[in-house]
Symmetry: C2
Subunit: 329 residues, 2 copies
């Protein structure tokens, strides 16, 4: 099957490369530890030129053979590769942001191989407290293309910095960020809580749900700065074992995130009903969020897969880089 | 003036020693970096015996000459020295906790010098989420002795783990803990927020108050897991400089702490009025809390000094270790 597009998901710590076929199906995929903060540093020849640019080297590592095999194949990339610290800055586009708007703002960078890499811009929301994303906009667009009839929906992207995106009429209209994943790691690794934890075991669902329950309870009103200390005091009083503590803390933080989110949504929507949710991301993390969303009263929660590669495919298509044979023919 | 008592404030990272006179006045004071987590490790002779116990060595470093000069002088100590990792565990006493109750539960440990060190127990509150303190109970009792007419008052002890203690009729009746200081350090040193911060400058009060204001605003409803990200996005959009970011983050976290506390107090008290507050601790940190407390509607805020040494003096007196000449004679 003829390859049509090279699609790159190029973040801070990793680079995932997809070779996509005539209707966007994945033909091959690769994952390299060549995020923009850990690029290759050893110079070598690329396309007959001596090269010490880490972006060029990583691009060649990831796709050199694909480019040789499929001359003229277009390339698109999303993620931190388009940040100020990236290969070429692709300035943020403002909300509301549609597939059309982003596809007309791809930022090309010409590689030493003579190929243009088209970088997807991130999205900025210029609210009182501004908000930004890079990479997640592509995943959201991938989901919207997959479920074109969905409207008034919340798309959740759990991670180091969780994003919650409200979509309407095919646009990203509003989003919120929670630093839950990164603060979880910092709390477990760099505060007193880590001293009594035993990490690395299998997921302890009861401990996780206990943490969620506390965050949603009357005790949770004091907020995460206070409830986190209960991981220590429950441990001191023999009510929470060392192996239970990590998932209890995870449940506390995710519970606080989702409780605050649900309150804000109810306030914004002026009603008691919560929107349908689609989750994108690591399946184990999505399972934690699914459990906690249910506890918060979110009744309709689905998981989406292949969001990034689908988003990149549809952006490339909208930009005229590829023809969408399957849907068109 | 004749020394009457050696009083030790012995925490995790430091050991403060006070030599107190006939009415509890401070005659001499010393501070050593000999907290229970960084005790001396080089063995030597103490009182004619070879000694490698870090507690004995630190005690001798801090007070050996005082003990030689004032034979038979009593010794009292509070703080983590009484924890399971301390010199001798002084089991927690339950709330409500009074001067009388704690003074009858001092835990003596006999040093190689033949002197008993009387360790003050910590306090535990056996609520659904238990809460514990060690050292702060002594400071609170010191304040209560200094202001004996105060009642229905909230005593705040800002720090790595801030404590907020409700006192009534001379007893500690309820307290809450917030890990604000420790989480502030973890967020600044071990998350993405640190990358754009320039720390070490003088206190930037406007940046701090801006953070407090955000925590108390409609945007603050999403909680600290979310608002923290605004330090990054305001930076990215040129609205918050690198030098402003640390105090902005400090204001955010302290603002969230005090807003949650004020909501919980109003709910518990079933009324809109907030109690009078007395702050104990580092004067620069207390100034931050004073600013944020005012923004939260706490109208009556005072600062207390010498709380630890006063608390230790009155506990020693209640336990019969010293006679309180000035007040009695």
């Amino acid at each position: 099957m003829q390859a049509q597009l090279i699609a790159l998901d190029w973040g801070t710590t990793s680079l995932r490369a997809y070779l996509l076929g005539p209707s966007g199906q994945v033909l091959q995929t690769r994952s390299l530890a060549c995020g923009i903060m850990q690029l290759p540093a050893t110079s070598r020849d690329v396309a007959g030129q001596r090269c010490d640019n880490g972006f060029e080297l990583a691009f060649d590592d990831a796709c050199g053979d694909w480019l040789d095999t499929h001359p003229g194949i277009p390339v698109i990339a999303c993620g931190m590769v388009g940040s100020a610290q990236g290969w070429r800055e692709a300035p943020y586009r403002e909300t509301p942001a549609s597939l059309q708007a982003l596809s007309t703002a791809l930022q090309p960078v010409r590689s030493v191989r003579g190929v243009d890499v088209h970088i997807v811009p991130g999205v900025i929301q210029r609210s009182t407290l501004p908000n930004v994303m890079r990479g997640e906009e592509t995943q959201v667009l991938g989901v919207l293309q997959r479920y074109p009839l969905i409207n008034d929906c919340l798309i959740g992207l759990p991670g180091s910095h969780s994003k919650w995106v409200q979509v309407q009429d095919g646009c990203l209209v509003h989003f919120d960020t929670f630093m839950t994943g990164e603060l979880y790691a910092a709390a477990c690794e760099h505060t007193i809580l880590g001293r009594t934890q035993q990490r690395g075991g299998p997921f302890d669902q009861p401990a996780f749900e206990r943490g969620v329950h506390v965050a949603l309870s009357a005790d949770g009103l004091l907020g995460p700065l206070s409830t986190l200390f209960s991981a220590r005091t429950l441990g001191l009083t023999g009510q929470l074992s060392a192996t239970e503590q990590p998932d209890y803390v995870s449940g506390l933080l995710i519970g606080h995130e989702l409780f605050a989110l649900s309150c804000a949504l109810r306030q914004r929507r002026g009603e008691q009903s919560l929107p349908a949710v689609i989750l994108i991301g690591n399946s184990q993390l999505c399972e934690r969020y699914r459990l906690a969303l249910a506890a918060c009263g979110f009744g309709d929660v689905r998981l989406a897969e292949q969001a990034t590669e689908q988003g990149l495919w549809h952006l490339a298509h909208a930009a005229g880089l590829v023809r969408h044979n399957a849907l068109e023919g």
